[in-house]
C-alpha cells in the first residue's frame, strides 16, 4: 500500500497504561494494510485495526525513544516507544492515512474476504428480514398499512423504502406531514405493541421545534431532556480522560464521573424509554417520539422502549432485528457518528454506545431477562467501528444501496449467530423475567460505571475470576454430559442385551471369574479421562509471573534504599 513506508520495527516498547513506573513489554511492531500488530517477547499478539484508531499522537522524544500514543474507538489505549524517531514518524504518518479513509470503497469491508460464495453472502444479508418483523408485530392490520410513498426515497431520503403508516394517512397527508417535519421525516410506525386489551403503538418522527398543543387534541406532551450529540461527545471525552489518569484516586474518579455527566445522560435515555413503555403498557396510549432530526435520541428511546416491552428483542436474533429496524433502517447516521470516513469531527457522537450501555444496565438489573450476554454487546460495539462488515457503513438505506453493500460486503449477523455459544447468557430463562415487560428502577445508585466497556483492554482492572464464564462453560458442559449419559445408557443396554444372548451358551465356561488387573486399569483410566476440567475455567488470570499485577514490584524493591512504597492500580512501586 502506498501509505506504508515501514512495515516492521523491532525493539519497540509497549508501556503499561496505568503503571507510573513505566512498566513495559518489548517486542516487534508490524504494519499491515489493515492492522497494526505488536508481538511481545512472550509471543502475545496485540492487533489493532486501522479503522479502530480514533487518534494517533507523537509525543516529544525521550531518552528511550519516540513515544507514540494510539487511542482506539473500542477504548483501547496503547502507548508505544519506538527507538528511532524516523521509524516512529513513518508509522505515525502511515497510521494517520490508514485510519482516516476518504472514501467508503477504501474501508475494510470492501476487501474483507471470509471465503464465502455469493449465495452464502446473500443468505447472510437476508438473515434479518424487516418485512417479517412487521408481520410478527401484527402489521399491516385494520389500522396500519404499508405505504409506498417513499418507495423511491422521494419523500424522505433517510427513511427506508417501506414504511408503515395509519390507514387514514393518504399520500397527500404524508407529503404534507413530511414538509412540516425536519428532513421530511414524517411520523411512521416504529413498534406496534400487541397487548390483550388494546393495541397500542409507538412511532417516530423528526422535530425541530415542537408541536403546538392547541392543534393536537387528545395528545399529551412530555419533554424528557436528553442532551444533543455534541454534549454526549464531550461527556464521553471527559470520562475517558479521567479514567486514563495514572494513579487515579477514588475521589478524582467519582468527581470525574460526576462532572463528565455520562451516567446522568444514560439515566435520561433510560427514563425516557421507561416513560414510553409505561405509556403504552399501562395507559394503552400511543406515543410519538421525536427529537430534532429523529435519528439519534429518537432511535435510542424507541429501541430501548421496544426492548422493555417486547421480550423478543431481548433474544439474540431479536436484538439484531431491533438494531436493523430502529437504527440502520431508520437512518441513524452510523458512518458520521462513528467517524468511519475522514469527515466532520462534530458529527461524531457515541449515541449508539449509549444505547448499548443502557441495555447493559438492564442486563444488570434483570440478569435472566436477556438471551445474550455482555460479550455480545461488546462485540457489536467493536463492529460498529471496525468497518469489517457492511451493516453499519453509510448513513441511511439509500446510501447503502448506492454503495451496493449487499454485493460487495458481508453482513455481521450470520457471523455472530455462528458464534452464538459465546454470546449466550447461561442464566436466561426465568419466566418472571423472560416474558415480562421490564420495569427498571432508575434510582441513581443503580447506575454503575461500565468497566468492561471502557476498560475492556485494561485487564489489570478486571476481576481475576469470572463467575459468568464459569457458569457459561458449565452450562455448555451440562449439555455435553446429558449427551454422554444418553450414549452411555444405550451402550450399556446393548452390552446387556448381548450378554443375555450369549449367557446361556457361555455360562458353563465362566463359572469362576477372577477380577483381572486389566479391569482395574480400565476403571482408573476412565476416571481420569472424564470430561470436566474445571481447573482450567477457574484459573486465575495473572497467576503467571509475566502477567502478574505485582511483577514489577520485585525489580523495584531491589533498588537501593527506597524511601516510600506506594501502590498504584494494585501494582506497587517504590519511589526514591
Amino acid at each position: 500500500m502506498e501509505h506504508i513506508r515501514t512495515t516492521k520495527v523491532e525493539q519497540v516498547k509497549l508501556l503499561d497504561r496505568f503503571s507510573t513506573s513505566n512498566k513495559s513489554l518489548t517486542g516487534t511492531l508490524y504494519l499491515t494494510a489493515t492492522h497494526l500488530l505488536f508481538i511481545d517477547a512472550h509471543q502475545k499478539e496485540t492487533w489493532i485495526l486501522h479503522h479502530h484508531i480514533a487518534s494517533v499522537e507523537k509525543l516529544a522524544l525521550t531518552t528511550s525513544g519516540c513515544p507514540l500514543v494510539i487511542q482506539c474507538k473500542n477504548f483501547r489505549t496503547v502507548h508505544f516507544i519506538v527507538p528511532r524517531e524516523r521509524d516512529c514518524h513513518d508509522i505515525y504518518n502511515s497510521l494517520l492515512q490508514l485510519s482516516k479513509q476518504a472514501k467508503y470503497e477504501d474501508l475494510y469491508a470492501f476487501s474483507y474476504n471470509p471465503k464465502q460464495n455469493d449465495a452464502e453472502r446473500l443468505r447472510g444479508w437476508e438473515l434479518i428480514d424487516l418485512a417479517e418483523e412487521y408481520k410478527r408485530m401484527g402489521v399491516p392490520n385494520s389500522n396500519w398499512q404499508l405505504s409506498d410513498a417513499n418507495r423511491d426515497y422521494k419523500i424522505c431520503e433517510t427513511y427506508p423504502r417501506e414504511l408503515y403508516v395509519p390507514r387514514i394517512a393518504s399520500k397527500p397527508i404524508i407529503v404534507g406531514s413530511s414538509k412540516f417535519r425536519s428532513k421530511g421525516r414524517f411520523p411512521v410506525l416504529s413498534y406496534y405493541h400487541q397487548s390483550k386489551e388494546l393495541n397500542a403503538m409507538a412511532n417516530r418522527a423528526a422535530g425541530k421545534g415542537y408541536e403546538n398543543e392547541d392543534n393536537y387534541s387528545n395528545i399529551r406532551f412530555q419533554f424528557v431532556g436528553i442532551e444533543n450529540i455534541h454534549v454526549m461527545r464531550s461527556s464521553l471525552q471527559k470520562l475517558l480522560e479521567v479514567n486514563g489518569t495514572k494513579g487515579l484516586s477514588v475521589n478524582d474518579f467519582y468527581s470525574g464521573l460526576e462532572s463528565s455527566g455520562w451516567l446522568r445522560h444514560i439515566k435520561a435515555v433510560m427514563d425516557a424509554a421507561i416513560f414510553l413503555a409505561k405509556a403504552i403498557e399501562a395507559e394503552s396510549a400511543s406515543v410519538l417520539v421525536h427529537c430534532s432530526d429523529g435519528w439519534d435520541r429518537t432511535s435510542q428511546v424507541c429501541s430501548l422502549g421496544s426492548l422493555l416491552l417486547d421480550p423478543y428483542y431481548r433474544t439474540i436474533r431479536g436484538f439484531m432485528v431491533l438494531i436493523e429496524k430502529d437504527w440502520i433502517s431508520f437512518g441513524h447516521k452510523f458512518s458520521e457518528r462513528c467517524g468511519h470516513l475522514d469527515g466532520d469531527p462534530k458529527e461524531v457522537s457515541p449515541v449508539f454506545t449509549q444505547f448499548l450501555e443502557c441495555v447493559w444496565h438492564l442486563t444488570e438489573q434483570f440478569p435472566q431477562a436477556f438471551e445474550f450476554n455482555e460479550a455480545f454487546l461488546l462485540q457489536i460495539h467493536e463492529h460498529i467501528h471496525s468497518c469489517q462488515f457492511g451493516n453499519f457503513i453509510g448513513n441511511c438505506q439509500k446510501e447503502r444501496e448506492e454503495l451496493k453493500l449487499k454485493e460487495k460486503t458481508y453482513s455481521l449477523w450470520p457471523f455472530l449467530l455462528d458464534d452464538q455459544k459465546k454470546y449466550l447468557n447461561p442464566l436466561y430463562g426465568s419466566q418472571s423475567q423472560k416474558s415480562a415487560v421490564l420495569e427498571p428502577n432508575t434510582v441513581s445508585f443503580n447506575f454503575k460505571f461500565w468497566r468492561n466497556m471502557y476498560h475492556q483492554f485494561d485487564r489489570t482492572l478486571h476481576p481475576r475470576q469470572s463467575v459468568f464464564n464459569i457458569i457459561m462453560n458449565m452450562n455448555e458442559q451440562n449439555k455435553q454430559l446429558e449427551k454422554d449419559i444418553k450414549d452411555l445408557e444405550s451402550q450399556i443396554k446393548q452390552r446387556k442385551n448381548k450378554q443375555t444372548d450369549g449367557i446361556l451358551s457361555k455360562e458353563l465356561l465362566n463359572s469362576v471369574r477372577p477380577e483381572s488387573p486389566a479391569l482395574k486399569a480400565t476403571l482408573s483410566l476412565k476416571e481420569q479421562a472424564l470430561l470436566p476440567v474445571n481447573d482450567v475455567l477457574r484459573t486465575i488470570e495473572g497467576s503467571s509471573p509475566a502477567d502478574n499485577r505485582y511483577s514489577e514490584y520485585a525489580d523495584e524493591f531491589s533498588k537501593a534504599e527506597p524511601a516510600v512504597v506506594s501502590l498504584e492500580y494494585g501494582v506497587a512501586r517504590m519511589t526514591c
Binding site: 496505568f18 468527581s255 449419559i485
Partner: protein, 507 residues
C-alpha cells in the same frame, strides 16, 4: 508435643539428594521422629540418615513446582534436597525447621497488657521478663507479638502498639532486641506505620511516637494513612444517608458518594494490606504493623494480608479463626466501636466502623476472586450484623479480659456454634469455591472497587431478580455435579460389562 506430631508429610517420592563429592541420588525421603532418611531403594547405594538435631539451619527455594531445601548441618556439611511439589516441600521444611517462636503466658492475668489474650506467640529468644519491659514501652502494653507466619518462606507479620518514645526519644533495648530477634541474619524488615509521618510525629507530644532509624537500623519504616475513629464514623453516616435518598439526581448521588470517602478508606486499607503481603511474599521480608493503639487499622492490615496470602483464611473455618485471632483475641474493642451505627446522633469518639470496613475489603477481594473463597457474601453480612447486635456472646466486650470477667463462656452461646451447624452453614457456602493455593492480589484501582450493595442498598431496593439469578446459578452448579456423578457411574458400569464380555470371550 512430640516431634512426630509435627510431621505432616512423612514420605515423599522422587526426591533428589545432592551432597559434596557424590553424584546426585534419587529416592524416597522419609521423616521419622528422630531422623531424616533418604533411600534410593536399590542395593549398594548409600542412604542418607540425618539426625534432626544435627540440623543447624535450612533454606528453601522454588523454581516452578520444584522446591529445593538446603540443609546446613551442625558438622558444617551442606546438603541439598530437590522435592517435587511445593506443598510437600513446604511440609517437609516446616517439619524439620527449628521453631524460632514460643508460646508465652506472661499475660496470664491480663496484667502486662489488658487488651491481649493470656497466651501470645513471641520470639523464643526473648524471655517473659523482657516482654514485661517491652510492654511498658508500647502503647497499651501491646508489645510486638506474632500475627502470621508465612510458611512459604518463614517470614512473619508482627503487630503491636506504637512505641512510647515521647518528645525526648526514649528507647528500649528489650524492644529492639525483641523485634530484631525475628529477623534472619542479614535480612531487613519493614515497619508499616498505618499513620502518615506527620501524625506519627505529632504523637510524640502525647508520649507516643515511632521507631527511630538509628535504633532500628535493620528496619525500614513505611507510613500509610488509614483513617480512624470519628472520621470513619462520619464517613459511614454520610454514605448511609446518601444511599437512603431515593430521589437525588445522578450528580448529587455521585458527589455524595465521593464526599462520604468510604471507598477512599477501602482503597487505603486494601493498599496497605497488599503492601504488607508483598513485603512477605515478594520481598521475603518480615514486617511489624502498628498505628497508635494497634487495635484498629493495625488489625485491618494484618488480617487482610492473611486473606491475600493464606488460602486457609479464605475457608469458612479459617476465616472464623482469623476473626477470633486477629479481632477478638487481638483486642479490637467491639463494644466501643460498634455501640452505635449510622443513625445515632450521640456521637461518641470511640465509635467507628473499623470492622465493617474490614468486611467490606474482604467483600471487594471476594468479588475479584469469586471462586477462591469458601464463604459467600451472606457470611460477611451475617458477621456485620452480629458485630453490632447479637444474641450470642462472641462479639461482646472489648477484649479477652473483659469477656473473662463477664463469664461469657459460661453465660452466653458462641456465634460459631450456631454458624457451624450444617443447616446454617449451607446458607453461607459459596457454590463456586475451589481451593486455590495461590496468593491473590486484588486490584485497588477506583474502577475496580465497588459500593457494597448487599450492605448499603439492602433495604433500598428489591433484590428479587438478583436473588433469582443467584438461585439459577446454584441450580446449574448442582446439576453439573449430578450429571458428573451419573456419567462416572455409567462409565464404570460399562467398563465392568466390557470386561465381563472380554473375560467371557477370551477363555
Amino acid at each position: 508435643m512430640e516431634f512426630a506430631e509435627l510431621i505432616k508429610t512423612p514420605r515423599v517420592d522422587n526426591v533428589v539428594l545432592h551432597r559434596p563429592f557424590y553424584p546426585p541420588v534419587e529416592g524416597t525421603l522419609c521423616l521419622t521422629g528422630h531422623h531424616l532418611i533418604l533411600s534410593s531403594r536399590q542395593d549398594n547405594t548409600e542412604e542418607l540418615w540425618l539426625l534432626h538435631s544435627n540440623i543447624d539451619a535450612i533454606d528453601k527455594r522454588f523454581v516452578g513446582p520444584l522446591g529445593t531445601i538446603i540443609i546446613k548441618c551442625k558438622d558444617f556439611r551442606i546438603i541439598q534436597l530437590d522435592i517435587p511439589g511445593m506443598e510437600e516441600c513446604l511440609n517437609i521444611a516446616s517439619s524439620i525447621e527449628i521453631s524460632e517462636w514460643r508460646l508465652s503466658y506472661v499475660n496470664k492475668e491480663f496484667a502486662v497488657c489488658p487488651s491481649y489474650p493470656p497466651a501470645v506467640i513471641v520470639p523464643k529468644a526473648v524471655d517473659d521478663e523482657a516482654l514485661r519491659k517491652v510492654a511498658t514501652f508500647r502503647h497499651g502494653g501491646r508489645f510486638p507479638v506474632l500475627s502470621y507466619y508465612h510458611k512459604k518462606n518463614g517470614m512473619v507479620i508482627m503487630r503491636s502498639g506504637q512505641p512510647l518514645t515521647g518528645t525526648n526519644g526514649r528507647r528500649c533495648k528489650e524492644d529492639e532486641k525483641l523485634i530484631n530477634a525475628t529477623l534472619r541474619a542479614g535480612k531487613r524488615g519493614y515497619i508499616i506505620d498505618t499513620r502518615p509521618l506527620n501524625v506519627a510525629q505529632q504523637a510524640r507530644a502525647k508520649g507516643g511516637g515511632f521507631e527511630q532509624e538509628a535504633h532500628y537500623p535493620q528496619w525500614r519504616r513505611i507510613h500509610k494513612s488509614i483513617e480512624r475513629y470519628h472520621i470513619l464514623q462520619e464517613s459511614l453516616i454520610k454514605l448511609v444517608e446518601s444511599c437512603n435518598d431515593q430521589t437525588q439526581n445522578m450528580d448529587r448521588w455521585l458527589s455524595k458518594l465521593e464526599a462520604s470517602n468510604w471507598l477512599t478508606h477501602i482503597k487505603e486499607i486494601l493498599t496497605t494490606a497488599c503492601l504488607a503481603a508483598q513485603c512477605l511474599d515478594r520481598e521475603g521480608a518480615s514486617i511489624l504493623v502498628h498505628g497508635t493503639e494497634g487495635t484498629d487499622s493495625t488489625l485491618q492490615v494484618t488480617s487482610l494480608a492473611q486473606i491475600i496470602l493464606e488460602p486457609r483464611s479464605r475457608t469458612i473455618r479459617g476465616f472464623e479463626a482469623l476473626i477470633e485471632r486477629e479481632w477478638l483475641q487481638a483486642g479490637h474493642p467491639f463494644q466501643q466501636r460498634c455501640a452505635q451505627s449510622a443513625y445515632c446522633n450521640s456521637k461518641q469518639k470511640w465509635e467507628a466502623p473499623v470492622f465493617l470496613l474490614f468486611l467490606d475489603c474482604v467483600w471487594q477481594i471476594l468479588r475479584q476472586f469469586p471462586c477462591s473463597f469458601e464463604f459467600n457474601e451472606n457470611f460477611l453480612i451475617m458477621l456485620f450484623e452480629h458485630a453490632y447486635a447479637s444474641q450470642f456472646g462472641t462479639f461482646l466486650g472489648n477484649n479477652e479480659s473483659e469477656r473473662c470477667k463477664l463469664k461469657l463462656q459460661q453465660k452466653t452461646m458462641s456465634l460459631w456454634s450456631w454458624v457451624n451447624r450444617p443447616s446454617e452453614l449451607s446458607k453461607f457456602t459459596n457454590p463456586l469455591f475451589e481451593a486455590n493455593n495461590l496468593v491473590i492480589w486484588p486490584s485497588v484501582a477506583p474502577q475496580s472497587l465497588q459500593l457494597w450493595e448487599g450492605i448499603f442498598l439492602r433495604w433500598n431496593r428489591s433484590s428479587k431478580y438478583l436473588d433469582e439469578a443467584y438461585e439459577e446459578m446454584v441450580n446449574i452448579i448442582e446439576y453439573n455435579k449430578e450429571l458428573q456423578a451419573k456419567v462416572n457411574l455409567l462409565r464404570r458400569q460399562l467398563a465392568e460389562l466390557e470386561t465381563e464380555d472380554g473375560v467371557q470371550e477370551s477363555p
